[in-house]
């Protein structure tokens, strides 16, 4: 279908964005890559009065590495992250996850900030940011604030962003020498929404996994950090018995709702299968 009518403003500064958000409240929506927003407008699932195009705010784009921390602007596209040598070196998890996001034409346009602010439960970036314990920088009229990714996602398409705020950057500590990461996902077809996905990072120290982080997507209304499975595996070698114990602990971390294609039991089975693959890969 075609999008309903709306007004359009191309913001030239963040100050203009705040001014428009203050004036229009819920009637305004920010347009970044538009790869979810314009689809939802076309399907008439949302009908904002005003789209505020923030894509010309170049200060919100790009990847910088400083003092071992990686700063990614909200308007950085999935494809830029996928191809970035800095990301491959300092945050390999993001380079591993990017190819799972939709298709090349969508990755050329869609942005990490847009994906995080939308908070689709099947999206890759929210789970990666939770696994990596990312910090989000949010700007408002009164100034900037920071919030941990682990506090940002509140539920189905719900975040800690207030209607008059803009997510401007994310910051993540770069990987140390022992860092290992893996991203695994199951989808019905390549590029489709994930049925289940897992972002996993750990330090591999003398054959054991330390500081293991397991963040699932598609298994709840928001990314789920599997704390009991993480604890079960902490400091251990990845072997058949330890992986089985971690998989067993998952049943207390995850409580997925069935969807159109899979029962809750199937989703749990897939989550366990991915956990086994991820732990074996981290240890390899």
């Amino acid at each position: 279908m075609k999008a309903p009518p709306f007004a359009y403003a191309r913001a030239r500064s963040l100050a203009e964005v705040f001014e428009l958000l203050a004036a229009h409240g819920d009637g305004a929506k920010l347009l970044a890559g538009g790869q979810s927003l314009i689809a939802s407008l076309n399907m008439r699932l949302s009908s904002p009065r005003l789209l505020i195009d923030i894509t010309r705010l170049t200060e919100l784009s790009g990847i910088q590495v400083r003092d071992g921390r990686v700063r990614i602007g909200a308007l950085t596209t999935h494809a830029e992250i996928e191809r970035s040598p800095e990301i491959r070196r300092h945050l390999p998890l993001l380079a591993q996850a990017a190819p799972h996001i939709a298709h090349p034409a969508i990755r050329n346009t869609g942005t990490i900030g847009g994906s995080l602010a939308l908070a689709d439960p099947a999206a890759e970036w929210p789970a990666c940011c939770v696994a990596l314990d990312a910090q989000f920088v949010i700007a408002g009229k009164a100034g900037a604030r920071r919030i941990a990714a682990r506090d940002f996602f509140k539920g189905l398409y719900a975040t800690a962003l207030r209607p008059d705020e803009v997510l401007t950057h994310i910051e993540i500590a770069g990987a140390g020498p022992d860092h290992r990461s893996v991203f695994v996902e199951l989808a019905q077809r390549r590029g489709d929404y994930a049925m289940v996905g897992l972002a996993a990072v750990a330090k591999r120290v003398g054959g054991t996994l330390k500081d293991l982080q397991l963040a699932f997507l598609g298994m709840g209304q928001a990314p789920v950090l599997a704390r009991r499975a993480m604890a079960a595996m902490e400091g251990k070698r990845a072997a058949a018995d330890t992986i089985a114990a971690a998989s067993e602990a998952l049943s207390r971390d995850l409580d997925p709702a069935p969807d159109l294609y899979s029962s809750a039991a199937t989703k749990m089975h897939l989550a366990r299968a991915l956990t086994g693959r991820a732990l074996a890969a981290l240890a390899a």
Partner: protein, 159 residues
């Protein structure tokens, strides 16, 4: 100064090398603008929510979904469609290979397939069949079963 907020905006973009200025309704997608205002009907409209890939065009050298971009967002940008890329000869080898391999039946997906495939041919000359399939995963064909399309692209990559 307050930002300009409009239902329609004067927009200047370069389409297939020619500068075009029009007053465009904000709600109009790039693909509808190209087809309905400029008569460039080689790019097709399929699902209109970013799934099928038949509206694939290039903006500033990168493939995008023509149904997931507003035409006013193309202000100041360079847009290339199947018409321009055909005329320039850039797609000639792929077109010849599609023809030889019977990589189309109804042809509805073909303009999008060719533009998407060319991005792979240009950026990844050593791409495997698996990579071809991955790269085309966002372009649906309801006739061929893809085998012949992958064959055609592989032929060009092997040249």
């Amino acid at each position: 100064m307050s930002p300009i907020m409009e239902q329609a905006l004067e927009t200047t973009l370069t389409v297939n090398g020619t500068s075009v200025t029009r007053r465009i309704p904000a709600r109009q997608h790039l693909i509808d603008f190209l087809r309905e205002e400029l008569g460039l009907t080689g790019s097709h409209v399929g699902c209109e929510h970013g799934v099928c890939g038949t509206c694939t065009v290039r903006v500033d050298g990168k493939i995008v979904r023509g149904c997931l971009m507003l035409a006013v967002q193309a202000d100041g940008r360079r847009v290339d469609t199947i018409e321009g890329l055909s005329d320039s000869g850039e797609l000639a080898e792929l077109q010849e290979a599609f023809h030889r391999r019977n990589a189309l039946q109804c042809g509805f997906c073909t303009p999008g397939m060719l533009i998407a495939a060319q991005e792979l041919v240009a950026n990844e000359p050593g791409a495997s069949r698996e990579r071809i399939r991955e790269h085309l995963s966002g372009n649906y064909c309801r006739c061929t079963g893809y085998q012949a399309i992958v064959d055609a692209i592989e032929d060009v990559l092997k040249k």
